[in-house]
């Protein structure tokens, strides 16, 4: 799991969590959010298949933080959130919608990344992900987002019966 979408989604969440402090937002949050947005949008186009809901969720929440705190970024937050939502179903439509909502500069970055070799972008995403994974013990935001994201690979078909029983048994005071 080292796709640009994943790295982008985590960056969007971590950046969004810095929105409450204006000072940190200006110094770091806004830049991490931009990196996240560019990586996520690039990833949608590169992968070409619907993004897992669990991967898209941190991105959405990060954008919600930006919106709630009314922080300035070079893209339309609401529009990008719509694109992120759509990316779980229709990646092509989502990519077009995301490009419409990104600012001129960020759109340039997305195009530049797509012009590069795919492995370069993947390598960059991997480095970003590694940096974030290393910070897992430090940062509650990273830990929270990774926990959600790591669920994306899980097989959920078993949930219906066995996990219900399992969780019930865990709650009931039987040995």
């Amino acid at each position: 799991m080292s796709s640009p979408t994943l790295a982008g989604s985590l960056c969007l969440y971590v950046g969004g969590r810095l929105a409450p402090s204006r000072e940190h937002w200006r110094a770091l949050g806004s830049r991490v959010i931009e990196v996240g947005a560019v990586l996520y949008v690039t990833g949608i186009e590169m992968e070409g298949e619907p993004v897992d809901r669990e991967v898209a969720l941190p991105a959405l929440r990060g954008l919600e933080y930006v919106r709630a705190y009314r922080r300035e970024v070079e893209f339309d937050v609401r529009g990008l959130a719509r694109a992120v939502k759509r990316s779980t179903e229709d990646p092509d439509g989502a990519f077009a919608l995301a490009l419409e909502n990104l600012g001129h500069r960020l759109r340039g970055y997305v195009n530049a990344l797509l012009d590069h070799d795919e492995w370069v972008v993947r390598r960059f995403s991997r480095d970003v992900l590694e940096a974030l994974r290393d910070a897992r013990g430090l940062s509650p935001a990273v830990a929270e987002a990774l926990k959600v994201v790591e669920r994306s690979g899980e097989d959920r078909s078993e949930w219906h019966v066995s996990s219900v029983l399992e969780s019930l048994l865990r709650w009931l005071p039987f040995p």
């Binding site: 409450p20 770091l28 830049r31 990196v35 940096a131 910070a135 929270e144 987002a145 669920r151």
Partner: protein, 149 residues
């Protein structure tokens, strides 16, 4: 005990209640259930002392209508919470993932954001976790290493 001592105690309760409200708002930027309970407890203490000083009974604090309203509100609240969480679990389950699985990634609190932005204007900076700042710094560092300024 002397009346003055009780009056002072009642005032201490009120001051403590005010302090827990204000610190809850300023430091945590939200008022959690425990804070509400603390405040309510302290206010009830103050009220009990006030009533006792005036030579009344504590039950005078609960006029019939107030009691009826409180019971109705509690019933409404419990029913609403119960229905909501049952629906949430059921719908989550029907959709094929565990009910409420998505809830463990935190959402911004609108009221908190509003307050933070209001306090910003008077120079009170909002709070973020130091670890999150460090994580963001590392991401920016990676970008710089890759020549993305």
């Amino acid at each position: 005990m002397h009346v003055t001592v009780w009056t002072v105690l009642a005032m201490v309760c009120m001051v403590l209640a005010a302090i827990s409200l204000v610190t809850g708002l300023l430091l945590e930027r939200r008022i959690e259930a425990t804070t509400w309970f603390t405040v309510a407890d302290l206010l009830v203490c103050a009220a009990a002392i006030y009533v006792a000083l005036n030579g009344g009974q504590f039950s005078e604090l609960l006029p019939t209508w107030g009691l009826a309203f409180a019971i109705l509100a509690a019933l409404g609240h419990i029913t609403y919470t119960w229905i909501r969480s049952t629906l949430w679990l059921l719908l989550g389950w029907l959709r094929g993932h565990g009910g409420g699985q998505e809830a463990d990634i935190s959402r911004p609190s609108r009221a908190g954001a509003l307050l933070t932005r209001a306090l910003e204007r008077v120079g009170v900076e909002g709070k973020v976790d130091r670890g999150d700042v460090e994580a963001a710094r590392r991401v920016v560092e990676v970008c710089r290493r890759w020549g993305w300024e």
